[in-house]
Symmetry: C2
Subunit: 398 residues, 2 copies
């Protein structure tokens, strides 16, 4: 039964909530964008009667080559929208493979979000609209009608950084009602990311909820740290206020995060009902987070039975001096001799870090250090990292 | 010390993270917008060389009258930006009072977010950019260098709705390390809102952290429910996926939420270390949430010692039939006879609900039911609701 509202009560609430909501409600025709059709094509619509050109750019479009002073690279694809008589521009995609996609409009050269889509994700300093095409792998990224874990933002003390720092923690369905102890996956973001990256862009809580409900993953706690030790918290979540985020921060790859990672482990093992043993600890990360996972697992060489390197960077910059990076091969050998259950490396064929992982695999082969290698299509993208997480998590704590 | 990166490593990471980040980094000049100056004026900038007009609309601008078929109302103010030779449009505001403000650009008639501002909040179906002017009341809304509570999104069972439902819970600093029991504030949103409204628009966790750090509020748990019982969760957080949110939902003001509110209380008192007595329970809400608070506290007339009605709606629609709304005056009298410590009513002078609260106060006076009445400038806005929360919370659990 729908409740009927009188004109008066509707008016009251139309005017009630805020001036922008009114604009949204009164903006003329109801525009649906993006409009995901049953055949997996997607129509995008944008109301701009006066614009000369409206384009869309997004990761669902074929990339195009862009030339820079350093050479030719794959750039984001674009497509032109077409205007109808009412001034509504639209574009319909090809049928898309199941995934979570990002896009923006470009209106007379100016990048714009989609005013009809409230689902957006921040990646470093950019906000893009997102949508999901279901019926395949992205069903794991969607909220399904299954038991849901809890997601908590909280602060922990890091004596090694003389700082309180923010962390995002997923606890699996049933954690609060149980007396069981749980294994822990430490999940690390890439450069420009923070403790919001994996939960927002990575869809970690949805992937975990769904894999656990399907019986494909053990219930586990997932700890999503902030790997930029110069930051207390993600942009906007620290006393620094609302500043413009940047990709490059000091102390991200100079050993400090690896050296002080013990603070995170101590906090988690003190604060949650966890199994505090090597067999119940996993560490994984993407790009810089893969680099951190590699070096943390080597620097604390008897701590993790599971290591995941997703599109990982490998070597520190030559100018960096830290005891964390001393004796690379020797400490890897110690890690190997101590034993572990899984050393999982995933890389996309067109990733710009492809060669560095090839070199690293050669090093591991030389050392006789076992690993599992997964090579996929594609490059250095969240599309791949969500897949890697979905494939890595079922291998843990078996 | 800043780590130096080689051109190669910079290139690697520039190209690493995503195609949009590249755009942000390579978009030519670095534009700062909004740019909050020391004298509390704010400059907004927007890069649109081809646009004919760029305006800004926001709650920091004087409102203007708009005519509708139902009469004349206050509408959002606008201001014109001015273009420089490089095609960058800009506008500088008057010195602004300390607050959290929202705004959007209007480019040739099309509403647009600010591509240089990653701080946005969703209100119903609209996304607006936000900024904070400090040095006054908004210092309470900012993250300060004080101990921080934890914010958890979790799901609870509501047998009365035959549903699992999502809820946002703030626990104060020290909760996890303590064995103490805490009082609870149930904090309810308005129409079109959900369990994200108070934490995002209301800045609840910042306000609580800061008031507690200043010794002005007792450490307490704050439970932010979803008052739309037709929804399991906020838009995008339920199995319904990414749909366009709307203001009007069924079953928001038909008694069902009030009737089943006992499910929330039972969940909280089972799941958290709380003082499960009337002296340790408060309920408050804005607009529809004030209406819910009024009716819940009357329907469970011996449950809450503290009630807060912020810009509250009062009467159900005439067509609504629910046992919750039967015997309004009689149950208020029962609530009065049972006793309570605070019945706090706040209303803005220009609020469209001003008359209904005047009528309600007359009813309370007739009954001899004591209340505290706070009348402020302004209307039905988050600006007021953040102030009301900041004033209400220090009165609780004394």
């Amino acid at each position: 039964m729908k409740v009927k509202f009188s004109i008066t009560s509707i008016l009251i609430f139309l005017f009630g909530f805020n001036i922008y909501a009114q604009q949204a409600l009164w903006g003329g025709q109801q525009i649906i964008s993006p409009d995901v059709h049953d055949n997996n094509t997607v129509t995008f619509r944008f109301n701009a009667p006066k614009a000369d050109t409206v384009k869309i750019t997004g990761d669902f479009l074929p990339t195009r080559k862009i030339n820079t002073q350093w050479g030719e690279f794959d750039g984001p694809g674009t497509a032109l929208l077409k205007k109808d008589n009412a001034g509504i521009w639209s574009f319909t995609s090809q049928p898309l493979e199941s995934d979570l996609y990002s896009y923006s409009f470009i209106v007379d050269g100016v990048t714009s979000t989609d005013p009809n889509n409230v689902y957006m994700i921040r990646d470093v300093a950019s906000i893009t609209d997102v949508f999901i095409v279901g019926g395949g792998k992205a069903d794991l990224y969607s909220v399904q009608d299954v038991p849901h874990g809890s997601v908590t933002r909280r602060w922990y003390e890091s004596p090694g950084n003389d700082m309180h720092r923010r962390v995002t923690i997923y606890t699996p369905p049933g954690y609060e009602e149980s007396n069981d102890k749980y294994p822990v996956l430490y999940l690390l973001h890439g450069m420009g990311g923070d403790e919001e990256a994996w939960i927002a862009l990575g869809r970690t809580s949805q992937i975990l909820d769904n894999l656990i409900a399907q019986g494909r993953a053990k219930p586990m706690i997932v700890v999503m740290t902030n790997g930029n030790v110069a930051q207390k918290a993600a942009p906007g979540e620290s006393p620094e206020g609302f500043y413009k985020p940047s990709m490059q921060l000091p102390h991200t790859m100079d050993g400090k995060f690896e050296e002080t990672f013990i603070d995170v482990i101590k906090f988690v093992e003190k604060s949650y009902r966890v199994k505090a043993d090597k067999a119940s600890r996993a560490i994984a990360g993407l790009s810089m987070g893969g680099y951190h996972s590699l070096h943390i697992s080597r620097y604390y060489p008897n701590t993790f039975d599971y290591v995941g390197l997703f599109s990982a960077a490998i070597m520190p910059n030559e100018s960096v001096k830290s005891k964390v990076y001393d004796n690379f091969d020797e400490t890897l050998k110690v890690q190997m001799d101590n034993g572990y259950k899984l050393y999982w490396i995933a890389m996309g064929k067109t990733d710009f870090l492809y060669k560095s992982i090839t070199d690293y695999r050669a090093k591991l082969d030389d050392l006789g250090m076992k690993y599992t290698y997964v090579e996929t299509e594609g490059g250095h993208t969240w599309t791949n990292w969500r897949v890697y997480l979905s494939e890595f998590v079922p291998l843990l704590f078996k």
